[in-house]
């Protein structure tokens, strides 16, 4: 059976829409169709957070609230979710929500335009009911730009309001909400429109997805729409056929395997964080700095791979780790090393109707160390100018196997072949060997100048990152080598 409506929970009602445009955004739905103008458009590209709403999702029977940029979220993507916007927080008696109250009392708004988005981000932190320290608050707010306050009062409000167990109306009806969301999960394929003229589809299984995409290889696959959303809002591209991956059971598998982790193409960054933490703390920091919570709540590793950005913040790390990529077309599947997937700028090894199903990321062996460093103008929520990732297999103070991959250095995320060769067999105290490896790096890449950095800086700093990795491989604590992303338990060596 196929369902021809999008259904979600909003203001206590199940909303069922049969007239959903394939390219219609959630923000336009709120502002233009519902005249709910509390949610603002600041940038229409998912970077400022003024349009943040909370989406309630049932995961393993538990209701979770995540922040989402409604400006680049397609309306059809919220099927089966609860939608909460800023107007919905205030009680029927007009009483402010604890988060609204705290922001107001701490003088956390000036012009007020970013405030609804900030309130919604903090609403999700309030409902997370976990750790609420300065770092956690900063991470929660990384996707919300405020140009007036300097954030201090907002952070204070968050620290006050978001500590402890949630006690608002949403918490009180948590069980009922979960039941209503469970009832919406009918396991049916969703398709609005018609297959000839254009549609929004959200197949319920990978098989249905494979069949639909085989029939429509010209369709646009959308996971979190954190990139495709901009094709719509900025490039004004008409994408008549949208296939959303978010409901395809099996695509969101995340499981431990003998060698490491299998991460389905539909797994969001937020869900993948746990697996990354089990591999190496540098990956936790890398994911923490990838987009912001609004992006990580819906964006997927699969999408990051498939759209082939030359920077693709996670790619160098996954390549250095030795990740295997799985693809499927109709019923045919194949696998390849991740680095082989990227052929040239905007060109991936992906046939018509073929799609990414997932990746396998191996754990580190006991003789292996991993390091990765992201360089950007701003630490949080910025795309890297340069990203270097390294996996060294060490044996008696010597590098026996080296994998080094970089982003921002070429038209694709790429391994540094000459550098890897120069590193193999290197004794860690052999500084001449380090110099030779750095020289090799200059032969591996011809970076370009752009708005993020010059070619000169990219190459200089790529070499510096290699040296940094070697210093750390040699035992230097990250507290002495870094100002961000310190590895847990590493303090400054005694002076």
């Amino acid at each position: 059976m196929t369902r021809a409506s999008v259904r979600f929970l909003y203001r206590g009602e199940v909303v069922s829409l049969t007239d959903v445009g394939a390219n219609e955004t959630l923000l336009d739905y709120l502002r233009l169709r519902r005249h709910a103008c509390g949610t603002k458009e600041g940038c229409a590209e998912g970077d400022c957070g003024a349009c943040t709403v909370a989406l309630g999702t049932l995961r393993d029977g538990r209701l979770e609230y995540a922040p989402v940029n409604s400006c680049i979220c397609l309306l059809g993507m919220i099927d089966g979710r609860e939608l909460v916007a800023v107007e919905d927080l205030t009680g029927p008696d007009g009483a402010l929500h604890p988060v609204q109250d705290a922001v107001s009392r701490h003088h956390g708004s000036q012009c007020g335009f970013c405030t609804p988005g900030i309130v919604m981000s903090l609403f999700t932190l309030y409902h997370a009911g976990g750790r609420c320290d300065r770092q956690e608050v900063n991470d929660t707010l990384a996707g919300n730009l405020c140009r007036c306050t300097g954030y201090r009062p907002i952070v204070d409000a968050a620290l006050e309001a978001c500590a402890g167990a949630p006690g608002d109306a949403f918490a009180a009806r948590r069980r009922a909400t979960a039941e209503r969301l469970a009832a919406l999960d009918d396991g049916e394929d969703l398709l609005i429109g018609d297959e000839a003229a254009g549609f929004f589809a959200a197949p319920a299984t990978v098989d249905a997805l494979a069949r639909l995409y085989a029939r429509h290889p010209d369709a646009t696959l959308v996971a979190g729409a954190t990139d495709v959303g901009l094709w719509i809002t900025k490039q004004m591209r008409a994408l008549p056929k949208i296939i959303h991956l978010g409901r395809a059971a099996g695509l969101a598998d995340l499981r431990e395997t003998g060698r490491g982790f299998h991460i389905g193409a539909g797994v969001t960054y937020a869900r993948a964080e746990g697996a990354m933490a089990a591999i190496d703390p540098d990956l936790v920091e890398l994911f923490r700095r990838l987009g912001a919570r609004q992006v990580r709540a819906v964006g997927t590793l699969g999408g990051n791979i498939a759209n082939g950005s030359p920077i693709g913040d996670t790619m160098p790390a996954l390549i250095a780790l030795g990740t295997t990529l799985h693809l499927r077309r109709s019923d045919a599947t194949r696998s390849l090393p991740l680095e082989d997937f990227f052929i040239d700028y905007g060109k991936q090894d992906l046939g018509p109707g073929e799609f990414v199903t997932g990746i396998d990321v191996p754990r580190l062996g006991s003789d292996e160390i991993f390091r990765c460093y992201k360089i950007s103008k701003r630490f949080d929520q910025d795309i890297s100018a340069l990203l270097g990732a390294f996996r060294f297999t060490l044996e008696a103070g010597r590098v026996v196997v080296a994998r080094a991959a970089f982003g921002g250095m070429a038209a694709t995320p790429k391994r540094a072949a000459a550098t890897e060769a120069a590193l193999e067999g290197l004794r860690l105290e052999d500084r001449h060997g380090w110099d030779a490896a750095c020289e090799a790096l200059a032969s591996d890449f011809r970076p370009i100048d752009d708005m993020r950095a010059s070619a000169w800086y990219r190459l200089e700093t790529a070499q510096a990152l290699l040296r940094k990795a070697l210093h750390e491989a040699g035992g230097e604590a990250s507290a002495a080598t870094r100002i961000v992303g310190l590895r847990p338990g590493e303090t400054v060596r005694a002076a």
Partner: protein, 777 residues
């Protein structure tokens, strides 16, 4: 002015049941957090509303338009009209002063992104989509993009201007220590969260009502009227609030309001324009970037004897507000330091880029950068602590006349710097930093304590005036309207506090209304930090006029001398009697006493004459100081701010919560300007950083956890300002120069004796370049 009013202007608030001086929340705080505070795009849309989108040549920066083919645009779905310069009934200009900014380009374009046509359609999406279908061909000329390219062409938007005192070059040659240097200071995108927006509603008899997100409603009124060949009285401009402005909506909100009004005039329907963020960033001007060249001479202790500085600003393709911006840069090229001999030369360079405009500080921040760079330059070369050099050069007794001839009448900055030196534990931390740097191979720390002295008043004399209108209703509620606009700075809150104070009533009894040109006419822009100084005083006078009438009546009715009628706590004490404020208001109505009044204020003592470069440009100075500590990674150029201490002088604060908000917010905005916010234009003159994905303003984690902010314990403004407060909108932005200077300090330690060639913004790349400059032979 009546003598009793002049006296009352000077009264200070006292503790107790007073509206002024209290840390009240922003008047819209509850609306902000609920999402019910309405911005223009949230106003319920009138029937048959049309939407406007601006169109420009996709690639070209400058040159003659050879083809303008809009057929496909006209034929696109939903399109109602396509407007070009030919559709403008009268004046095609949206400039603030010089008449050089066309609303729609005519025969040539002057920068990439200049609006050539506007589409009017049934939906915003249809209008935006249709824009892409235009075919515009331009006989492209090589654009002048950088300041240097503009300087080379010799083309200035307004003539050079300078302050000269003594014989700086000769004096420099006679000093034991002379040096010179140069630096680039980057521009800054405003990134107001609410983009440019306007809604025009055609009225009867050819009138036009324009809702605009603008700092200057009167200017919008005048430009729309001139565009449509109507008297000013036929156009009303209204602004309830802006979602941020920072100077970006002082002159450059006008083009969008004009386009909405033009569309409404041509079609007869209401029309709205709301810029897409990328269009907004490409089509509107920014903070001027500067190239600064300086030479100086100082004595053996680092005390300046002479300064010769040239400030070359990239103004873009037209004058806009560049004359006043560059003048203010000159007025602040001394910051807080005495220059016995000085030449401050300002060049206002034309480039083929978007016309740069007002931005919080208005040139002052860029001007101050030369003063602070010279302090660091001296400290590096003489091997002295930079704070010692700064303290020696501060204005003080006998060293108190600025290069433009105004006396610095107080010694506040010196005392304020000493206080912060103590409270920030500067000396002890300086020692700890030295130890850290000795023991670290890759990471280096730096610290700097820098002062701010900022002149308060518009340097264009006639702008220093304001009007207000106050009504008291018979139930005792009060409505206030004034010429200032609310952009988040809390102006309406402060003005309402002042009015509540005058009537001795609760703040909540004062209703704040939208700024509107038919309520208070002939207003000046809300800018130059002057909003509360001007409008607070005008509203106070309006309220005082009514209050005095009420008091006179009460005295007459109850046979009590006027001096024994007091307004406090929502009550009016009339001798031994006490009645509610509302009761007296009702009595006034019954006794036929007017309960409405205007109030007007013009800043006294301003005598600046630009032609002769003489007189007094400012009523007073606002002061502050900041101490910042940073760590840099010498391998990558990454930087982290570890601790910041701010001490700022707001006189007697009207509202300490709002003032602290301005101080912290201004500092963080300045931090962004000098560190992460980098505007990159490509060689073709196109802005490459036209979205928040590539243009990075500070986020929460960029603000140090250890952030100590205090108000200077002031005895009140020495000038008779509103409750002896001081302006606070712009000055704190420049406290962030301490961060830039601290980064320089960290780099300087790598090779003592050399001056790091650090440009702003200090991105990781700029820091690595400066580190390399220390290693060069």
């Amino acid at each position: 002015m009546p003598p009793d009013l002049a006296q009352s202007d000077r009264t200070s608030p006292v503790d107790g049941n007073h509206a002024v001086g209290r840390a009240l929340a922003h008047d819209s705080a509850a609306g902000h957090v609920r999402g019910t505070a309405r911005y223009i795009d949230d106003v319920p849309e009138p029937a048959a509303l049309l939407h406007v989108a601006p169109g420009h040549a996709a690639h070209a920066a400058c040159g003659q338009i050879t083809t303008l083919d809009l057929d496909a645009v006209r034929a696109a779905p939903g399109v109602v009209a396509v407007l070009t310069a030919a559709d403008i009934p009268a004046k095609n200009d949206c400039s603030p002063v010089f008449g050089d900014d066309p609303i729609l380009a005519e025969s040539r374009i002057a920068f990439h992104g200049q609006v050539v046509f506007a589409v009017v359609a049934h939906s915003r999406e249809e209008a935006r989509r249709a824009c892409r279908l235009a075919r515009i061909e331009v006989e492209e000329e090589e654009p002048r993009v950088s300041v240097e390219a503009g300087l080379a062409s010799g083309d200035m938007v307004v003539p050079d201007y300078q302050f000269l005192r003594g014989e700086p070059q000769a004096a420099i040659e006679r000093t034991p220590h002379a040096a010179s240097g140069s630096l680039h200071v980057g521009g800054q995108e405003h990134f107001y969260l609410e983009g440019q927006v306007a809604l025009a509603l055609p009225g009867e008899d050819g009138t036009m009502h324009v809702l605009s997100s603008t700092q200057h409603p009167s200017e919008i009124q005048h430009l729309v009227a001139a565009m449509l060949a109507k008297p000013d009285s036929h156009v009303v401009c209204e602004c309830r609030r802006m979602g941020g402005a920072f100077g970006g909506k002082e002159s450059q909100a006008a083009q969008w309001a004009c386009l909405a009004a033009l569309a409404a005039s041509v079609t007869g329907s209401a029309a709205k324009i709301r810029l897409d963020r990328d269009d907004d960033m490409v089509m509107t001007g920014k903070r001027h970037d500067f190239r600064i060249d300086y030479s100086y001479g100082c004595d053996g202790e680092g005390r300046l004897v002479a300064v010769d500085a040239a400030l070359s600003a990239r103004c873009g393709c037209s004058a806009d507000l560049s004359m006043a911006v560059c003048d203010r840069a000159m007025f602040h090229a001394d910051n807080a330091y005495h220059y016995p001999n000085a030449r401050i030369l300002s060049r206002r360079v034309r480039t083929d880029t978007v016309s740069n405009t007002a931005f919080r500080g208005f040139g002052g921040p860029q001007g101050m950068m030369v003063a602070e760079r010279m302090m660091d330059d001296i400290a590096c070369r003489l091997g002295q602590d930079p704070l010692d050099v700064r303290k020696r050069n501060l204005y003080g007794r006998g060293r108190d006349v600025t290069p433009y001839g105004m006396k610095v009448p107080d010694n506040t900055i010196s005392r304020l710097v000493r206080e912060l030196e103590k409270t920030s534990d500067y000396r002890e931390r300086r020692r700890a930093i030295a130890t850290f740097n000795r023991n670290n191979r890759f990471l280096r720390k730096g610290m700097s304590l820098t002062p701010v002295k900022f002149g308060i008043a518009f340097t264009l004399k006639h702008l220093n005036q304001a009007g207000a209108l106050v009504h008291v209703y018979t139930d005792g509620s009060v409505l206030v309207n004034h010429g200032g606009t609310e952009m988040g700075q809390g102006l309406h809150t402060k003005v309402a506090q002042v009015v509540a104070e005058e009537f001795g009533i609760d703040f909540d009894r004062v209703q704040i209304t939208a700024t509107k040109t038919d309520m208070v006419p002939n207003t000046t822009p809300t800018a130059a930090s002057s909003g509360s100084d001007l409008n607070g005083m005008a509203a106070k006078r309006a309220a005082a006029t009514i209050r005095d009438r009420m008091a006179a009546l009460a005295g007459r009715l109850y046979q009590v001398p006027r001096a024994e009628v007091r307004f406090a706590g929502g009550m009016v004490e009339i001798g031994k009697r006490s009645i509610s404020f509302a009761e007296l208001a009702k009595t006034c109505f019954l006794e036929r006493i007017s309960l409405s009044s205007t109030g007007y204020f013009a800043t006294p003592k301003i005598t600046w004459d630009r032609a002769s470069a003489s007189g007094r440009p400012f009523l007073y100075f606002a002061y502050g100081a900041a101490c910042s500590e940073v760590t840099i990674d010498t391998l990558t150029g990454e930087m982290r701010v570890d601790r910041v201490d701010l001490l700022h002088d707001v006189g007697n604060s009207l509202n300490p919560a709002i003032d602290i908000g301005q101080i912290e917010g201004g500092f963080v905005q300045g931090l962004g300007w000098l560190t992460t916010e980098e505007l990159v234009f490509d060689a073709k003159g196109r802005l490459a950083t036209h979205a928040p994905s590539t243009y990075k303003i500070p986020v929460a984690s960029d603000v140090p956890e250890d952030f100590r902010v205090a108000l200077w314990k002031s005895r009140g403004n020495r000038e008779a300002t509103i409750y002896r407060s001081k302006a606070v909108g712009e000055p704190p932005l420049m406290l962030a120069i301490s961060v830039f200077s601290a980064i320089l300090n960290a780099i300087a330690g790598l090779n003592p004796g050399r001056v790091p060639a650090l440009d702003a913004p200090a991105t990781p790349e700029a820091i690595v370049r400066a580190i390399r400059s220390m290693q060069e032979a």
